[in-house]
C-alpha cells in the first residue's frame, strides 16, 4: 500500500481523461497544449461542425495538437471528444453579437462579395480585396488572417496570404517575409495551423496539401532592427504578389490577406504599416483591438485611394478575448521547433536532411556589416559583406539565396530564399564546415546569408 514514493503520486489531473465537450452555437473551446508532453491533446469531432481558424475538422477524425495554443470554434454547435492533457476552457456567447467571430465572419462575406465582383469585372486588372490585418501583440492577427484565408479557400477561392512579420515565418523560418497561395485546406494539426514550415513541399507526398511560398530573408526579429531592408523586402514581395495577380486569375480575384508585424502607436510602426498598405495596394485595413492605431491609420490612409482608385477602408474590430498570451518562452520553443521541423519533418513526415562537409573556400557566406556608432544605415554598397567563418557560426541557420555569388550585394540581399542550411560544426583548423542541408544536392554557387536572428539554440545534429 504505502511503498515509499508511490503513495506520493498526485492523482492524475482530470484533464488527462477522455471527455466530451458539448459546444453551443458560436462557442469556442480554447486549449493550451503547450505544456503537455509529446502526446499533446487529441480532439475528435463527434457531431456538428467545428473549425480551427476557418478550416473545418472532419467528423470523427482524431486531430492531435502538440505545442499549440488555439481554439476550436463552432458556428452552429458541436460535440467534441477530448483526450490528453491540456489546459482548456469553453467560451460561450449567448448573445451572438458579443462574439468577435461574428464580425470576422461578416468581414469574410464582405470580402466574398468583393471577390465575386473582381471575378466578374470586365477590367481584368483589378484584383480582389486586399486586406491588411494589424494590431498590437497578441491581438489575434495571424489567427484572423488564417481564418479569412481558410474561409476563402473553403468557398473555392485561392487567396494569397503574405506575412510581413519577421518574428514569425509564414511557411518559412522566422526572420523572413513570405507569401503563398492557399488554394487548399490547411494542416490544422500544425502548431501554426497550416502556416508553419511543415506545410512546405518536400520530396515526398503529404497528407495535407502543401503550400509553396516565396520567401525573402530579413534575418532580424523586429522591423525596427533594419527598417530600410524591411521596406525593400516588402516592396519586393509586393511586386511578386502583383505579378502573381497578373498571372493567375483565380488568385487575382481571391485577393490578398496580409499579416503584419506587431504594431504600436509609434511613428515608425505606423510608417511601416502605411508603407505596406501602399505597396500592396491594400483597400481594407483591419485593426484589431487598438483604437489609437485605427484612428492614426484612418487619418493617413482614409484620405488616400489605392492604385486601383478604390477608397481605403480602415475598420476596427474587437480582438478575441481569449487570445492566448504567448510568452517569450513559448514563442521561442515554437521557433526552435520550426527550425527543427524544417530539416527533420514532424511526426507525420520524417525527413532526412543531408550532412555535407564543405571547405571554407567553397562557400560564400555574407552578412550585414556590423553597425558602427553613428551610422543609421551602412554606407551604400556595403549592405552585405563576406563573413568570416568562425566557430561562432556554429548552429546558426543560414539562408540560401537564389542568386549567384558574383551578384552585387544588393541583389543577393533581396533575392528570394531557396532554403536554409544549418551550420552543424566549424572546424577552423581544417577549414571545413559541416552543414545540414535539406536536400542532398550541393549548394553550387548559391550565396549564403548569415542573419542576426533567430539565434542558434541547439545542435540540430544532437
Amino acid at each position: 500500500m504505502s511503498i515509499p514514493g508511490l503513495g506520493q503520486l498526485l492523482p492524475q489531473p482530470t484533464a488527462s481523461t477522455t471527455r466530451i465537450v458539448a459546444l453551443k452555437r458560436l462557442s469556442e473551446w480554447r486549449f493550451d497544449a503547450s505544456r503537455s508532453s509529446s502526446t499533446g491533446v487529441k480532439v475528435r469531432l463527434i457531431s456538428g461542425t467545428a473549425e480551427r481558424d476557418g478550416t473545418e475538422l472532419a467528423l470523427n477524425k482524431t486531430y492531435t495538437f502538440v505545442r499549440t495554443k488555439s481554439k476550436i470554434l463552432t458556428w452552429s454547435g458541436c460535440t467534441l471528444e477530448i483526450s490528453g492533457e491540456s489546459e482548456d476552457y469553453v467560451t460561450d456567447f449567448p448573445v451572438a453579437e458579443d462574439s468577435p467571430m461574428v464580425s470576422y465572419l461578416n468581414l469574410h462575406f464582405e470580402l466574398q462579395a468583393q471577390r465575386k465582383a473582381a471575378a466578374n469585372a470586365t477590367r481584368r486588372n483589378r484584383p480582389g480585396p486586399r486586406v491588411m490585418v494589424c494590431g498590437p501583440q497578441n491581438s489575434g492577427k495571424t489567427s484572423l488572417v488564417r481564418m479569412l484565408a481558410a474561409l476563402s479557400t473553403k468557398m473555392g477561392g485561392q487567396p494569397l496570404v503574405a506575412n510581413l512579420d519577421p518574428g514569425e515565418g509564414l511557411l518559412s523560418l522566422p526572420g523572413t517575409v513570405s507569401a503563398a497561395v492557399f488554394g487548399n485546406v490547411m494542416d490544422i494539426e500544425e502548431p501554426a495551423g497550416g502556416f508553419g514550415v511543415g506545410s512546405t513541399p518536400s520530396s515526398g507526398p503529404s497528407a495535407v496539401p502543401v503550400k509553396l511560398p516565396i520567401v525573402y530573408y530579413f534575418g532580424r526579429e523586429k522591423v525596427q532592427d533594419d527598417v530600410a531592408l524591411w521596406k525593400d523586402l516588402t516592396s519586393k514581395l509586393a511586386s511578386s504578389v502583383r505579378a502573381k495577380f497578373g498571372e493567375d486569375d483565380e488568385v487575382r480575384s481571391a485577393g490578398l490577406v496580409l499579416d503584419t508585424p506587431v504594431a504600436t502607436t509609434n511613428q515608425s510602426d505606423i510608417d511601416s504599416l502605411v508603407h505596406a498598405a501602399r505597396e500592396f495596394a491594400v483597400n481594407i485595413v483591419v485593426v484589431l483591438g487598438s483604437a489609437r492605431i485605427e484612428s492614426t491609420l484612418q487619418q493617413i490612409l482614409g484620405q488616400e485611394k489605392t492604385s486601383f482608385g478604390e477608397p481605403i477602408s480602415v475598420i476596427m474590430l474587437d480582438q478575441s478575448e481569449g487570445v492566448a498570451a504567448r510568452d517569450n518562452d513559448f514563442i521561442k520553443s515554437i521557433r526552435e521547433a520550426s527550425i527543427k521541423e524544417y530539416f527533420f519533418g514532424d511526426s507525420k513526415r520524417t525527413l532526412s536532411p543531408s550532412t555535407q562537409s564543405v571547405s571554407f573556400d567553397d562557400v560564400a557566406i555574407f552578412k550585414t556589416p556590423d553597425e558602427e556608432e553613428g551610422y543609421e544605415t551602412p554606407p551604400v554598397g556595403q549592405v552585405l559583406e563576406p563573413a568570416e567563418i568562425t566557430a561562432g557560426m556554429s548552429h546558426w541557420t543560414l539562408a540560401v539565396m537564389d542568386a549567384s555569388v558574383n551578384d552585387p550585394p544588393e541583389t543577393i540581399r533581396q533575392a528570394p530564399v531557396i532554403g536554409f542550411i544549418a551550420v552543424a560544426d566549424v572546424d577552423e583548423d581544417r577549414r571545413r564546415l559541416k552543414i545540414l542541408s535539406p536536400v542532398t544536392s550541393r549548394l553550387g554557387n548559391k550565396p549564403l546569408v548569415w542573419g542576426r536572428w533567430p539565434e542558434p539554440y541547439i545542435n540540430l545534429l544532437g
Binding site: G48, P209, I315, K434
Partner: protein
C-alpha cells in the same frame, strides 16, 4: 496462387493494417482476397483474429466488419474457423471499444443469428452455440451496468435484451397471448414480468425473432453511409445489410410482410432449437424453449394477435426504446428529432446522396401511440436509452402516422418570428408547444443528442432531402414520402421553413461590394450566413473536412479528391521507406508561374515512367528524387489551355522527365569509360539512397551508335556520358525533346534547379558529399 500460407497471411496482415476507416470498398476487397485464398483460410483467420485483437479501438470496427463480411460471404471455411474463436474475438474487441462501436457490434451480433440475407440456406451465420455465450456475456454486462444505474428496471431490461435460454429462474408472469396486451396497458404491466411462469424462454425467443427488423435498416444506413460515394450499391459483401424486402416494412409497414418475416425467423429458430433439443433431449430448458417457439408459431399463424400488439411487443423486445420521453399528455410532439436520431450521426455530413426520405419524413414515434403509451423511460430509465440505437423505432411507425398533425407545426410557426434561422429550425424541429424539456445528456446519449442538438445538421438533411431548397420555391415539394400522413407533415414543415426564410434573411448584410465597411453592420449576427460556408457547400470529405457540393460537378471533384487521398495514402507509405527531404523553395518566376494543382497533383505512373526519356538506361527506374511536386509549372504554353486538368499533369510530367537526376549504377565492367567523353571529367561516385546502390551521378548510357534508345544495348556497345554534357551536345532525341520543352516553359519548378545544381556542382567540383 502459388503463394504459401505465410505469404498470404503476411499480405493479408498488411492489407488489414491499411484499413483504418470503415470503407466498404476496402472491406469488399479484403473479403475477396479471403475468398480467393480460402485454401489458406486458417492462416487468414489467424491473421484477422490477431488483427482485431491488436488494432487500436478506433480501428476495431472496420476489422470486425471484415470478419462479418468474410463469414457471411465465404461461410465455408471461415464461419467454421471463426466459430470457436468467436467469443474471444468478439468480447476482446467489445471490451476495448467505445459505446458507439459497441452498439454497432451488438447489431452485427444480431445478424449472426440469422441466415445470411439472400442466401438459400436457412442456417444462421454462426450456430447458436457460438453466439449465445456472447449474448450471455453481453446481457450480464448490461445488467451490471444497469443495475448500477437503475435497479428497478433491471429485470425488464434483461428480458428484453436478448434471447437467452439459460436463464432458468427468470420467469414471465403471463402466458404469451396475454402478454402482448399487457404491454399495451402501459409500463405498469412490466412489474408483472418477473413472476412465475412456465414458459420462460418464450419471450426471449420472440425477441430474437423480432430482431431482424430493427437491425437491417440501421445497418443499411450505416455502412453505405461511410463508404465513398462511388461505391457500387448492392452486390457488395454487405448485400446482407441491404434490405430490399425489409425496407417496405419500415417505410410503409405492411402487416403481411412483417408477419411473414416473423414466421420465417421463428421457423429458423425452431430449426435451431430442434437441433439443440435433439442433442440433449433431457434438457428441460431446451424442451421448453422449443415448445414455446412452436406455440408462438401457431399463434402467429393464426394471426389472432392484433398487429398493433405485435408491434408494441416488437418495439420493446427488439430494443426499440425510442423514446417516448414525451409524456403521453403531449402525444404529438417532436416528430423530427427522433427521426433524425434514427439515422446514425455519420449520415449527417458524410452521406453523399440524400438521406432516404423515409428517414426524414418519419412520423412520430411510439410516444404518440395513445393506447399503448408505453414509456420506455419509465421502463428503462434514461441511462438505458443511451445504450439503444435511436434508429430502431421504425417498426413502431405503423401505429402512429395518423397522429401526425399540423397543430404542433403551427405552434412552431409562431416561433418563426425568431430572426435566427438556426434557432428557428431548432425550435421548429425540437421544441414543441408544451416543451417536455428533457435533459439533454450528450455524454450519455451521443447518438440522440448529438443530432438533435445540432440544428445545422438538421438543416443539412432537410436541404439534402429537398425540404429546404435554399429558398427556392421547390421548398414545398416533399420527397415522395412513403405515407400520406407524413407527407402532409413534410409539407407543413417545408412550408414552415420557407416562411421562416424571409424572416431569417431580414437583417440584410451590409452593402455587398460597396467597399465601405461599417463597424456596426459587421457586428450584426447573421445566422443565415453560416449555411453558406457549411451546408451550402455540400457534405465534407471524411478525411480532411473539405466540402464538396452534391451536384454533378461537385461529385466529380470529390471523386478526384478521394482518389487523391487514396494515392497520397499509398505514397506516404512508400515514401517512408524511401526517405524524403524538404525541397528548396522556388525562385520568383517559378512561384509566379506555379499553380495550385488541386487534387491533380499526382503523376500517373504510366506517364511518369522511365524509359521514354533520354535513354538513361539501367538504374533510372527507381529514381524518384524530386519527382513529387505539388505544383504544376504553368508555362506559357501550358497556361493557354490549362482548362483541361490533364494538361498540367502532362506538362509536369515532361518537366519531370527533363529534370530528373540522371544516374546509373556503377558499372561492374572494367572496360567502361570512367570519364565523360565530352568534358573528360571523372564520374562522381555516390551512394544513392533512393537506388540503394553506388551510382554515378549525372550519367547516362549512350549507345555507340548514338541512337535514341539504349535500353537494350549491351555494355560494350555503349559509353557513359554526363547527362548534362550529352544533352548539351544534343544527344538523344527524347532528351532533346524534353529539354526543348523545358526551354519552352519559361521556368519549370523545383527540379530545374536541382538539375542545375547538379550541373554547377559537377562543374565547379566545389562541394564533396560526405554521405550520411
Amino acid at each position: 496462387m502459388t503463394d504459401n500460407a505465410a505469404d498470404v497471411a503476411e499480405d493479408y496482415r498488411q492489407a488489414l493494417e491499411d484499413l483504418t476507416i470503415n470503407s466498404r470498398i476496402e472491406i469488399a476487397t479484403l473479403t475477396n482476397i479471403a475468398r480467393e485464398n480460402a485454401n489458406h483460410g486458417l492462416a487468414i483467420t489467424e491473421v484477422l483474429q490477431n488483427h482485431i485483437k491488436k488494432v487500436p479501438p478506433g480501428r476495431t470496427l472496420p476489422a470486425l466488419y471484415v470478419l462479418d463480411s468474410v463469414v457471411k460471404n465465404v461461410p465455408t471455411p471461415y464461419a467454421l474457423y471463426f466459430g470457436p474463436k468467436l467469443y474471444s474475438v468478439f468480447m476482446g474487441a467489445y471490451t476495448k471499444v467505445d459505446n458507439m462501436t459497441r452498439r454497432k457490434m451488438e447489431e452485427m451480433l444480431r445478424t449472426w443469428k440469422e441466415p445470411v440475407p439472400g442466401s438459400i440456406s436457412s442456417r444462421p451465420v454462426f450456430p447458436p452455440e457460438h453466439v449465445q455465450p456472447i449474448e450471455n456475456a453481453l446481457v450480464a454486462a448490461h445488467n451490471a451496468a444497469l443495475a448500477a444505474q437503475q435497479n428497478s428496471y433491471q429485470g425488464t431490461q434483461q428480458l428484453l435484451r436478448s434471447a437467452r435460454p439459460s436463464a432458468p429462474n427468470r420467469d414471465t408472469p403471463t402466458p404469451p397471448m396475454a402478454r402482448a396486451p399487457s404491454h399495451q396497458a402501459g409500463p405498469h404491466s412490466q412489474q408483472a414480468f418477473p413472476g412465475p411462469n412456465g414458459q420462460p424462454q418464450y419471450h426471449n425467443d420472440l425477441a430474437m425473432a423480432q430482431q431482424p427488423y430493427p437491425v437491417r435498416p440501421l445497418s443499411a444506413n450505416m455502412i453505405p453511409a461511410r463508404a465513398p460515394p462511388q461505391a457500387p450499391p448492392p452486390a457488395g459483401p454487405f448485400y446482407g445489410h441491404q434490405q430490399p424486402a425489409g425496407r417496405d416494412a419500415y417505410g410503409a409497414p405492411q402487416p403481411g410482410i412483417s408477419i411473414d418475416k416473423l414466421k420465417d425467423d421463428i421457423q429458423h429458430l425452431i430449426v435451431a432449437a430442434k437441433a439443440e433439443f435433439a442433442q440433449d433431449p433431457l434438457d428441460i430448458s431446451k424442451q421448453t424453449r422449443l415448445k414455446a417457439l412452436l406455440d408462438l408459431q401457431t399463434l402467429i399463424q393464426r394471426q389472432d394477435m392484433p398487429q398493433d400488439q405485435l408491434m408494441v411487443v416488437k418495439d420493446k423486445v427488439a430494443e426499440l426504446a425510442v423514446n417516448t420521453r414525451a409524456p403521453s399528455a403531449a402525444p404529438l410532439s417532436m416528430p423530427m428529432p427522433y427521426a433524425y436520431a434514427a439515422t446514425p450521426p455519420v449520415v449527417v455530413s458524410q452521406q453523399p446522396t440524400p438521406v432516404p426520405p423515409v428517414a426524414v419524413a418519419r412520423p412520430p414515434p411510439p410516444a404518440a401511440a395513445p393506447p399503448s403509451a408505453v414509456s420506455f423511460d419509465g421502463l428503462f430509465g434514461q441511462g438505458a436509452l443511451a445504450t439503444l440505437l435511436g434508429g430502431l423505432q421504425k417498426p413502431a411507425t405503423p401505429q402512429t402516422p395518423v397522429l401526425h398533425r399540423p397543430p404542433p407545426l403551427a405552434a412552431a410557426a409562431a416561433a418563426a418570428a425568431s430572426p435566427a434561422l438556426a434557432t428557428l429550425t431548432s425550435a421548429a424541429v425540437r421544441a414543441t408547444p408544451p416543451p417536455p424539456q428533457r435533459p439533454v445528456e450528450p455524454a450519455a446519449q451521443p447518438a440522440v443528442s448529438s443530432l438533435s442538438a445540432n440544428p445545422s445538421a438538421l438543416l443539412a438533411m432537410l436541404r439534402q432531402s429537398g425540404l429546404l431548397a435554399a429558398g427556392a420555391p421547390a421548398a414545398g415539394v416533399a420527397p415522395a414520402p412513403p405515407q400520406p400522413a407524413s407527407s402532409a407533415a413534410v409539407g407543413n414543415i417545408s412550408s414552415l421553413l420557407s416562411q421562416a426564410r424571409p424572416f431569417a434573411a431580414a437583417p440584410a448584410p451590409s452593402g455587398h461590394g460597396s467597399g465601405q465597411l461599417q463597424a456596426a453592420s459587421l457586428k450584426q449576427f447573421r445566422p443565415q450566413l453560416i449555411a453558406q460556408f457549411h451546408d451550402d457547400l455540400g457534405p465534407p470529405c471524411t478525411q480532411c473536412g473539405r466540402r464538396f457540393r452534391a451536384d454533378e460537378q461537385g461529385r466529380r471533384k470529390k471523386t478526384a479528391h478521394m482518389d487523391w487521398h487514396f494515392r497520397v495514402h499509398q505514397r506516404i507509405a512508400e515514401a517512408e521507406k524511401r526517405g524524403q527531404h524538404r525541397s528548396w523553395y522556388v525562385d520568383e518566376m517559378d512561384w509566379i508561374k506555379s499553380r495550385e494543382a488541386i487534387d491533380v497533383d499526382y503523376v500517373a505512373p504510366d506517364l511518369g515512367g522511365s524509359g521514354n526519356n533520354s535513354g538513361d538506361g539501367d538504374g533510372d527506374d527507381g529514381n524518384q528524387a524530386g519527382g513529387d511536386y505539388y505544383y504544376a509549372a504553368g508555362g506559357s504554353g501550358g497556361r493557354a489551355d490549362s482548362s483541361s486538368a490533364r494538361q498540367p499533369v502532362g506538362a509536369k510530367t515532361n518537366d519531370k522527365n527533363s529534370k530528373k537526376i540522371h544516374y546509373i549504377a556503377v558499372p561492374d565492367d572494367p572496360g567502361v569509360n570512367t570519364t565523360c567523353p565530352i568534358c573528360q571529367e571523372r564520374f562522381e561516385m555516390k551512394w544513392l539512397d533512393e537506388a540503394q546502390e553506388w551510382v554515378w551521378m549525372d550519367a547516362v548510357w549512350v549507345p555507340a551508335s548514338s541512337s535514341a534508345s539504349s535500353a537494350g544495348a549491351r555494355p560494350e556497345q555503349r559509353r557513359v556520358y554526363h547527362a548534362t554534357c550529352h544533352r548539351e551536345v544534343g544527344g538523344g532525341s527524347a532528351a532533346q525533346q524534353a529539354h526543348h520543352f523545358a526551354r519552352a516553359t519559361p521556368e519549370p519548378v523545383l527540379g530545374k534547379r536541382k538539375a542545375e545544381d547538379e550541373f554547377n556542382s559537377l562543374r565547379g567540383g566545389k562541394l564533396k558529399m560526405e554521405g550520411y
